[in-house]
């Protein structure tokens, strides 16, 4: 475990061609890390995320990805992810191969990956054309009952990146609130980078906090606001108005590019990104 700046952590742990899972189910989405990957112009990534959300819309639109594994690709409560759609429908800025699942299937694939099992099993994908669309969704016979069950290959990302509320000074990481499949994605990965709101001496008591012990963490980067415009429970709320504005910002290629140039490529780090949004407001 190392404490690094976010730019150092991305430079060291995210490589061209990697499979990379920036997880966080609506909550604790590692936006700052995604932006830093865009700044460092990583290419040919295989992006993995249950809900691509705005962070992958941005990374795909900026040409970071050649493949996407996902289970729901919309702007939650708003509509389409226009950059994701443009990549799938028109191959812009480059073709994007997709490996599409259901939430339950992808959760099973992360669980298998965390346990270093070859596949996940579930009673799922029943009566859906996804089975024809995705050759990785197969079936297996239960050796005890003979029942046919769905099987999905384990997900083991080269690197998983999370955002969490806190790390302590040893690099143990604690996250609370809606925790999605972050624990599974973290333990399935070969390398694990975590950005945090705060570095503390001791974690506050929490009933259902998930703690990732320091020896499974590759690097921790202190990055306050690192989930914005998603949120960090206890620190700041989801910027629902921004999610609504993104529909317009991302709708056409030029407008999207201008926004990314100004707020991501044109800023040095996440603090610069947040400051640049203040200037607009």
């Amino acid at each position: 475990m190392q404490f690094l700046s976010l730019s150092e952590a991305i430079a060291e742990y995210v490589r061209d061609g990697d499979s990379a899972a920036l997880e966080g189910f609506t909550h604790l989405i590692p936006f700052a890390a995604g932006h830093e990957i865009i700044r460092q112009r990583r290419r040919d990534l295989h992006l993995v995320r249950m809900t691509p959300d705005l962070v992958y819309d941005q990374m795909i639109g900026m040409g970071c990805a050649s493949r996407l594994t996902f289970s729901w690709g919309g702007n939650p409560g708003v509509g389409s992810l226009h950059r994701l759609r443009d990549a799938i429908e028109h191959g812009w800025p480059q073709p994007l191969a997709i490996d599409e699942h259901t939430h339950a299937g992808m959760a099973a694939a992360y669980c298998a990956g965390a346990a270093r099992l070859p596949f996940g099993v579930l009673r799922g994908y029943i009566g859906t054309d996804l089975v024809e669309a995705n050759p990785r969704v197969r079936s297996v016979e239960c050796p005890f009952t003979g029942e046919r069950l769905a099987a999905v290959p384990a997900l083991n990302p080269d690197v998983t990146i999370l955002h969490a509320q806190r790390a302590d000074r040893k690099g143990n990481v604690a996250l609370v609130g809606i925790v999605g499949a972050q624990r599974e994605a973290a333990l399935a990965a070969r390398r694990l980078v975590v950005t945090v709101e705060e570095i503390v001496d001791d974690f506050p008591p929490a009933m259902n906090s998930i703690v990732l012990p320091h020896w499974v963490v590759s690097a921790v980067a202190h990055c306050p606001g690192g989930a914005y415009p998603a949120y960090a429970q206890g620190y700041y709320a989801r910027d629902n108005a921004f999610y609504q504005r993104w529909d317009e910002i991302s709708r056409d290629r030029d407008g999207f590019h201008a926004w990314m140039e100004r707020h991501v490529l044109g800023t040095r780090d996440h603090r610069g990104f947040l400051d640049s949004l203040e200037e607009v407001a």
Binding site: T26, L81, H103, G124, G127, L130, G177, H222, P224, R271
Partner: protein
């Protein structure tokens, strides 16, 4: 049509939400999709079903949001929940285990047997419109004891043949679902903006069984892209009560205000983004 106020002072959108809410009962365990289903489920909770257990796929169980969430995982859902569990747990230990009474789904397309498409318009490999995709829907459709579907009717959404079957209804009907391995009962009602369709015994084809006040069988037939069967008895649904309308409008008004509220980030501490915190 749906946005305009109806003669009685309510819109068809509102009536759709009210009609869906009335199908829910107190203490039922309901897996909620975002959008219209979320409004209907919370309207039920705020009116006749105060102890309904609402589950959102983000892992929030027994949530009682004061405003409707924009996303499936807004902080409001976690803060007002009885408990919050990891996502693999909500899908495997609750949904797959058969612990959900009602699954509430939306879609872009539905066919006469209640199968749903939320994946693509056009061919899968070369879609004319790429939609968000499956999310939790296929397993909700398979495992909830019953499902309710909410979808506004146009010939583009109520289609003779789906471009892609994302989630199973009754498949080809005539008992096909029972042999599919799906353990839940499938769609029990489709709530649309002229009334309600329910599956016929035997064929399992959706037929018109209830109309909103002011809607006609002919307008229903015109809005559906297959020859719509009309049930032997078609009831007329009572219009929204004053309480239902006032509760729904107040909920939506609180929601609009909350989603506009500016977000304040904590002040940036001096010396952050340095190599070591010690």
């Amino acid at each position: 049509m749906s946005a305009a106020a109806h003669d009685g002072g309510w819109t068809r959108d509102e009536m759709m939400t009210v009609a869906a809410a009335r199908l829910l009962w107190d203490r039922c365990v309901c897996f909620v999709g975002i959008g219209l289903p979320s409004a209907a489920c919370n309207l039920a909770r705020l009116t006749h079903a105060p102890d309904i257990v609402l589950i959102y796929e983000s892992g929030t169980i027994g949530t009682r949001p004061d405003v409707l969430p924009l996303s499936i995982g807004d902080g409001e859902l976690a803060e007002t929940a009885s408990c919050v569990v990891p996502l693999p747990e909500i899908f495997s230990y609750y949904l797959q285990a058969g612990r959900v009474d009602v699954g509430f789904l939306g879609a872009a397309q539905i066919d006469r047997h209640g199968n749903l498409n939320s994946t693509v318009i056009g061919p899968y490999a070369t879609p004319s419109t790429r939609l968000p995709g499956a999310g939790g829907a296929p397993e909700i459709a398979a495992h909830a004891r019953q499902t309710f579907v909410m979808l506004k009717a146009t010939p583009r959404s109520f289609v003779p043949r789906l471009d892609f079957r994302t989630s199973a209804g009754f498949l080809d009907g005539h008992g096909a679902r029972a042999h599919s391995g799906a353990r839940g009962g499938g769609p029990r009602a489709v709530i649309t903006d002229f009334g309600i369709l329910t599956p016929a015994a035997g064929t399992e084809e959706l037929e018109l069984s209830a109309l909103f006040e002011g809607a006609t069988k002919d307008s229903a037939r015109a809005a559906v892209g297959w020859p719509l069967v009309v049930a032997p008895t078609v009831t007329t649904l009572a219009p929204p009560t004053d309480t239902e309308l006032a509760t729904l409008r107040a909920l939506q008004s609180r929601t609009r205000e909350a989603h506009r509220r500016p977000v304040h980030l904590p002040a940036w501490p001096a010396g952050s983004e340095t190599r070591s915190p010690t």
